[in-house]
């Protein structure tokens, strides 16, 4: 079986699935909360979970660093954040570990798990990843740094500067581009000169690899090699994982203004979550009971997270001026 060839146990496959499903369900719930007027904003991971889980699974989650972007929910969950953390953030509560309710949801940052705080302007984090890796290299601690962004964001100047910098210094960075075919409403052919982000790797003296982002095993395999390469001091790798954004860009978007319902429905057939579920079914890696129990568990986890987050305290308005400077 494929997962065995990759050295993955049955349990690990189920864990992969579990995190993909957890991410999906947390995300779906956020839309409901938004539509119910309970939270002002959602930006989704839906359709990109396979990429994110395949990626995080290939990293050392005790040692490596993340400089992720706003869709990487599954990645940060695997690194240690919980559904509760997400809901605290969605409700902008004091206990939100990312920002204490200061930033929008999905603006991840968590010192506990070496997830470097991110902002909204896209692609700045890609340079931070190079900086973290450089620091890790000259101190001799050498964590691998994973940074990601959308394909639209890969056209920003910072992206170029970061890949070049990492290439020059052979830094242990893996640059992931999650190509979901759109930058809000702008389709690939208006964003990218070459349709292919991976082709840019060569220009930075690093491998550029394109994978099916809906195939968690393929992502894992390629990522694993990239991480090993980084770990051995051979330098960075660029990986482009192609999938699809199944939701509108955010809760403020109306995607039918720029793509058809049919296109979205077609993409749903290739949804990585669905693909992995079929794989597990076909190879009978679980029983119906296990499957059901998993879904049940996740539901409970999320329901409790929402309850907890709704009831959690707001930040104190008097703290508005805290943390501008160290003292």
């Amino acid at each position: 079986m494929r997962h065995e060839q990759l050295g993955l146990t049955n349990e690990q496959v189920l864990e992969m699935y579990r995190y993909m499903l957890l991410s999906r369900k947390v995300d779906e719930k956020m839309w409901l909360l938004n539509r119910a007027g309970k939270i002002p904003f959602v930006v989704s991971c839906q359709g990109q979970e396979a990429t994110q889980v395949g990626t995080a699974y290939a990293l050392d989650r005790e040692k490596d660093w993340l400089c992720p972007y706003y869709r990487d929910l599954a990645m940060v969950l695997l690194f240690g954040q919980t559904a509760k953390d997400q809901m605290l953030s969605a409700f902008a509560k004091e206990g939100d570990p990312n920002s204490g309710g200061r930033q929008m949801p999905n603006h991840f940052g968590d010192r506990r798990f070496r997830i470097l705080s991110g902002s909204s302007p896209v692609t700045t984090q890609v340079l931070h990843a190079a900086g973290v890796a450089y620091a890790g290299k000259i101190t001799g601690e050498n964590p691998v740094v994973l940074t990601s962004c959308g394909e639209g964001s890969s056209n920003q100047g910072d992206w170029h500067e970061a890949l070049n910098f990492a290439g020059v210094h052979k830094l242990p960075v893996v640059f992931l581009v999650e190509n979901n075919l759109y930058a809000i409403s702008v389709p690939l052919n208006k964003q990218l000169a070459g349709e292919n982000v991976a082709a840019r790797g060569q220009g930075y003296g690093m491998p550029g690899i394109r994978v099916d982002g809906n195939d968690v095993f393929e992502v894992y395999e390629v990522m694993k090699q990239a991480v090993e390469r980084a770990r051995k001091g051979e330098g960075p790798t660029l990986i482009e994982a192609v999938s699809y954004r199944l939701t509108p860009h955010s809760s403020d978007d109306d995607d039918l203004a720029y793509r058809t319902r049919e296109e979205v429905e077609e993409a749903k057939q290739k949804d990585g979550l669905f693909v992995l579920e079929k794989y597990i079914d076909e190879h009978e890696l679980w029983t119906d009971e296990i499957k059901e129990a998993m879904k049940q568990e996740i539901d409970t986890e999320i329901t409790e997270a929402i309850k907890f987050a709704e009831a959690a305290p707001h930040p104190d308005p008097a703290d508005l001026s805290k943390h501008v400077f160290a003292r």
């Binding site: 902008a92 309710g101 200061r102 909204s120 920003q156 308005p317």
Partner: protein, 327 residues
């Protein structure tokens, strides 16, 4: 006269001017099929085609830099920066290039270009979708800076900006987009850049302000009128060139000045206004020049209570005016 919203007035100005002048074209992220994430360019691509309503890659420096080149060629680009917070990657092109093109070429080249940017908060936009960024540019000679507060003003000033032969930063308060409606002529009219407007005549305290705060101040003034405090409200409309004459006259009117803006206090544009008054109208003053602004924190948080604590409102403005009146 038709009553339309602030954002519709913006759309109308562009639509009409593109009809009149073939040199005018629009470029930015999602401005085409999507009509802009705020819908400011709604309907333009249908009328003028995708060459003149150009969906750019996700690259602010390119949006402005391409605009600079096209303007030098003889066109009249209107560049949309999706949120003012994301103007930062374009600052080199704005400050090093657009603002200095005429001067450095001894008047032989020019840069007739408008850069539109939705700014301001109070819309749950958090740190990076709420900023007031105008003060970054008010100290840069060669740029004109406009920040209107009403549908009537925004249309007349946008037309003037497009026709201006120099680069104009055109700041639109995003909370105003759908917050207010106004009578706006269908016939062509312009409002000159560099002219402030008295939005309310009064004799006790002068408030000098712009943007959303004009409306909050007018609300405060209404309330204070009931208490017998008569507030004079000057809407700057254009920040650069500053209408010094109007500022000095408004100061003379009451001898007591409060400057109000949503941007944080330190080195906000209010500093320049206060400095002009302290230098040129000193002997007309009966009291210290007050500044009521947002606190000096990096930007307003997402959490609604923190956002509220950050934002000015009619009540806070009324308190400050009352204090000044009582001096």
């Amino acid at each position: 006269m038709p009553v339309i919203s602030y954002i519709d007035a913006i759309t109308e100005a562009m639509r009409e001017e593109m009809g009149r002048d073939k040199r005018v074209f629009v470029l930015g992220e999602d401005v085409g099929v999507r009509g802009g994430v705020f819908r400011a360019t709604n309907g333009l691509i249908e009328l003028y085609g995708e060459d003149r309503v150009l969906d750019t890659p996700l690259t602010e420096s390119a949006i402005v830099g391409v605009g600079v080149g096209a303007a030098a060629y003889g066109l009249r680009p209107i560049a949309e920066i999706q949120f003012a917070d994301f103007i930062m990657p374009a600052i080199n092109q704005i400050i090093s290039e657009a603002s200095k093109m005429r001067y450095r070429s001894n008047g032989t080249w020019e840069c007739p270009m408008v850069i539109r940017a939705p700014y301001g908060g109070g819309i749950h936009g958090a740190l990076y979708h709420s900023q007031s960024v105008e003060a970054l540019f008010t100290g840069v000679p060669g740029l004109k800076i406009v920040a209107p507060s009403t549908p009537y003003d925004v249309k007349g000033l946008l037309l003037s900006s497009i026709r201006d032969n120099d680069p104009v930063l055109f700041f639109e308060h995003k909370k105003l987009y759908r917050f207010i409606k106004d009578e706006v002529p269908e016939t062509e009219y312009t409002i000159p850049i560099g002219k402030a407007d008295v939005k309310r005549e009064g004799s006790d305290v002068t408030v000098i302000t712009y943007g959303l705060m004009v409306h909050y101040t007018l609300e405060a003034a209404k309330k204070l009128a009931e208490e017998g405090v008569d507030v004079h409200v000057l809407d700057l409309r254009t920040l650069i060139p500053l209408d010094k004459g109007a500022v000095l006259e408004a100061t003379k009117k009451t001898g007591k000045v409060l400057i109000v803006h949503e941007d944080n206090k330190t080195s906000g544009f209010g500093a320049e206004v206060a400095a002009v008054i302290a230098e040129e109208a000193f002997f007309d003053l009966d009291a210290p020049v007050g500044r009521l602004c947002s606190p000096d924190v990096p930007s307003m948080p997402y959490n609604s209570k923190l956002e509220k604590a950050f934002m000015l409102n009619p009540e806070k403005i009324a308190v400050a005016i009352r204090e000044l009146a009582e001096l």
